[in-house]
Amino acid sequence: MLELNAGQSIEMEYGGSAKVLKVLGSGGQGIVYLVDFGGINYALKWYDVNKIKNPQAFRKNIERNINDGAPSDKFLWPKYLTKPMPDNDGFGYLMDLRPEGYDSFVDILNMYKLDVDPLTGRAKKIRVQFRSLFALITAVINIVNAFRQLHRAGKSYQDLNDGGFFINVETGDVMVCDCDNIAPDGYNFGIGGKPGYMAPEIVRGVAKPDVQTDKYSLAVVLFKLLFRGDPMEGEKVIKDICLTEKSELKHYGKETVFVFDPNNNTNRPVRGIHDNVIKFWGIYPEYIRKAFTYTFTVGINEPSKRIIENQWQKLFIRLRNEIISCQCGRTTFASSFASNQDNSAYKCQKCGAEFPTLAFSNCNYRIPVYIGKKFFACETVAGSDDFQTITGEVVENKLKKGMMGIKNLSGNTWNVKMPDGKIYKIESGRGFPIWQGLSIDFGGVTAHI
């Protein structure tokens, strides 16, 4: 393979040249270098053409992706191609550098990263954990949304696995990397894959990666992020002790059994090994468990029945809305709190605090309110699926401790029924108390206690 040296200049397709600064990392198909192009630092992904089946078609595909542009700002998308080398030995493309403050999906699953002392070479473990449950579920929504945008653009990711994401654990922001195998749906430029993430039909050799197989891989990624384990690794797999190639083909291809398959109990998670999965399966509400169960049972043999991204997005926006952060320090989903019969109010079993709920006209579940709860455009704006723009927040009244209210942050004026029975106009930046008879007209969407 043609390796590049620091200081070497690489000519770019449309003029100019990029100067190699150092190696950033290496993968199955090539090496990533830090380069300077026109005074700006980029990452150069440099391919070994011998490891690619049809380099011309592969390069052409990247060129097409560059011209089409990224489906959303969550992708570290190819930006500029290099000129083909005269001896046709290597080529590459430039992309933006991964922004600071993002941890790899691998480190998130392991819950630590290694900090290496440059002087001694010794490594220290640093804990990697989401700052809040809100950030975790936001990351899930961001991943789902990124793939929804990609699939809407008529493309598939192909080799979705744990190496493809970086997440900001403070905010839940996501960057999708390794975008070089992304291809129009139905096309495949020769990427193999990894059992466990790949759909069973690919492992078996009877299908090629496409949008449907992406959906399976996406469900695996989401399951691993939430339940911290492998959806197909249970008793049946553990019995093999040694995971040979034959066992992988069996358990991830020919005889894939979801660990919580309601009709097949041969592969349940094993205590002492799969404790995360056992514990978290009990914590997540039923509608989330049902969606995973459907994708990993019916969806194994019927790819078209796998949960689609838009459905996942709705489920996880609901899940994020059902987080309750109690002032006693307990934060979990509403389904774990005590509730009255119609789920219109919740109570913390630990400290006794009570939480009213709001019923929105555009939403088929009630949203619990607590100090710090944020509302987004997808709740307060008709027809919106914007889960990022904050339009309101539950706050405590500064003059009267213990009094809970909602602050309008939407930029619009809301009509709110106050305790005196009259409707008030509440401009952006102002607030109103939460009380038994509260009703809010956001304009197009209404909500009431």
């Binding site: 290496v116 449950l133 975790l136 911290r228 797999v237 553990i238 040694c242 083909l249 995360n276």
Partner: protein, 260 residues
């Protein structure tokens, strides 16, 4: 409030309160000849290459695999560098000094005992088949066939990824191929430069292949059978090692055994 009461109010329902994901295990075994003939450049290069290698392959297992290392040295006596496999993230190389004869057969028998769930492969979760990397500069002084027979009865060995590095011209490639089961994963170093480079490249390649799920090729045209995937990792390792040996940047400088 007493502690018991506090505890009874502790709800274990925080979705963030997780442990790291359950990982598969991989043990990489290095079997290293420390007989007297390894003195000088050979052992110097080997020690240095191994010292530098460990930090380089620290993250090889990623989120899937917990990689451990065990080093067995053989000369007149056998010795494990540590009493049990050590996590690659914590492994520190102790420099080896050569002396004595080459009791390779005894090393094979010792390895056969340790390749067991009751011994070095005791992880309760799933394991990948071990990587076993043999390095020697000579012909066994003892009855290696007897040791090899013991190994061949061990299914961890049978499924394992085996690779052998002969150092200098005394090492016998045919004998090494008996150990690996295929000549594709037997390589030969004739010089210090080659030795250092081969140790690193082979260790990196074999631990990468060993610590991951099999790679699915993209040129299949129908349902894959269990036969198709049998020993696919060993084959993949063989191909990649041949690629390393045949590559242009493989140093062809002065052999260990000439030019003195």
């Amino acid at each position: 409030m007493n502690d018991e009461f506090e505890k009874s109010l502790d709800f274990d329902d925080d979705p963030l309160n997780a442990m790291g994901v359950s990982r598969k295990s991989l043990v990489i075994f290095f079997l290293i000849d420390t007989s007297g003939s390894m003195k000088g450049t050979k052992m110097g290069e080997l020690n240095t290459a191994m010292e530098e290698l460990m930090p380089e392959i620290r993250r090889v297992g990623e989120a899937d695999t917990d990689v451990k290392v065990a080093v067995l040295t053989f000369a007149t006596h056998l010795a494990w560098m540590y009493p049990e496999p050590i996590s690659i993230e914590e492994f520190e190389w102790s420099r080896l000094s050569p002396a004595g004869i080459t009791n390779m057969g005894a090393a094979f028998e010792e390895l056969a005992i340790r390749l067991s769930r009751n011994s070095f492969l005791s992880s309760p979760s799933l394991s990948f088949a071990p990587v076993i990397f043999l390095m020697t500069d000579g012909y066994p002084s003892d009855d290696y066939k007897r040791g090899l027979k013991k190994l061949n009865e061990n299914s961890w060995y049978k499924h394992g990824l085996k690779v052998a590095l002969g150092i200098g011209k005394e090492a016998n490639d045919d004998m090494l191929a008996e150990f690996t089961g295929t000549s594709d994963t037997v390589v030969h170093a004739y010089s210090g430069g080659q030795l250092a480079q081969l140790i690193k490249k082979i260790a990196v390649t074999s631990s990468q292949i060993g610590s991951k799920s099999m790679t699915l090729s993209d040129d299949t045209t129908g349902e894959i059978s269990f036969e198709d995937v049998s020993e696919s990792k060993q084959k993949q390792l063989g191909e990649q090692i041949q690629e390393i040996v045949n590559s242009e940047d493989y140093p062809k400088d002065i052999p260990f055994d000439s030019g003195w």
